[in-house]
Amino acid sequence: MSELIGLAFAAFVVENIVLTQFLGICPFLGVSKKRSSALGMGIAVVFVIVLSSTITWLLYHFILDVLAITYMRTIVFILVIAALVQMVEIFLKKVSPALYKALGIYLPLITTNCAVLGVAIININEGHDFAQMLVYSTFISLGFLFVMYIFAMIREKLDFSPVPKAFKGTPIALIVAAILAMIFARFGGII
């Protein structure tokens, strides 16, 4: 159990998906201009990462590995993720229009979010068992949500700051991300 807690903490801050593993940078920079959109994107990503990691893990261990066609991994995973995102979209539209309205526009963007495929592949590469996979994908995606929200708060303030002209937009966002990365790097020794 303590091992799982360690894994959860490591996934949440120490190996933070955005700031130390550089996955999901595109939505991190692209959809973080407002807190509300950062939150929407973050929640959608948590949902899709946990669901897709579970399905790809099961597929890998019970089908690809058994048939000895593990080299088909990348193709199968990305198709599963693309199909899954479509299905989640249709499902949400039918079941909960309110939630769909809030998350709907972020869903299509998620297929090409490298965090989703990245986490699915890391789960396989690290040899996580089912429980570890669940904990890891949940907390690594919550880490994404957490950092995304902090970043959006800073960026909202940044809009009112006198930023040099050349730094406006992406460059200053990257500098802010660098400072955040510096903070997160210091969690290193905790576990």
């Binding site: 700031l19 130390t20 593993q21 550089f22 996955l23 999901g24 940078i25 595109c26 920079l29 080299y71 088909m72 991994r73 990348t74 193709i75 990305i78 198709l79 693309a82 297929t111 090409t112 979010n113 490298c114 989703v116 495929l117 990245g118 592949i121 890391i122 590469n125 040099p164 002209k165 050349a166 730094f167 406006k168 937009g169 992406t170 460059p171 200053i172 966002a173 990257l174 500098i175 991300a177 660098a178 400072i179 990365a181 510096m182 997160f184 790097a185």
Partner: protein, 221 residues
Amino acid sequence: MNKLDNFLKGFLKENPLFVSVLGMCPSLAITTSLENALGMGAAVFFVLTLSNFIISLIMSNKKLAELVKPVRIPVYIVVIASLVTIVEMVMHAFLINLYESLGVFIPLIVVNCIILGRAEAFASENKPLDSVLDGMGMALGYTGALVIISLVREILGQGSITIWGNLAIDLGFAFDFLKIQPLDMFTKPVGAFMSFGFILATIFAISNHKANKKAKEVKGQ
């Protein structure tokens, strides 16, 4: 559009990394040494050129294009993912060190927005030859951008330039001469975000300056 233009536009005018800001993840993660940047660039070159070729071949055939249209995104993904898997297997077999240092970012070429973006925006509407030129230009532009970032990070962070394997230039003498030391920070995530931010700002400053100059010239006339 002229053929040379198709090839050259990826270098500066539509540089995928510095102008369109696409394909960020690998550009931050693997640019710790020049060798990694070159390896990543080569992998993207192979995948982008071939995927552009295959997709434009499929889409320029009217009958086939008609059939493929409703499922074109999955078709693109299957083509790209197959090419990426081939790169992954070949690299694993013959360039094991590079394979290990690029790690998860090799399979992640599949979701690099540049490749799917070029397939949808260019290859699906143009002839095979044009698409190949476009793919090569874009990939070389991307590689160039990776090389710039990795040079900054490796020189400042480790005081060396690793060209390939053991072929490396040690810049220790220059650091000794200036009585400074390489800053480890630049090989860490902090350095990645920082270097990219400053490089991007420099590019914005130059293009702002050019735009101002042009505006002044127009006014003067």
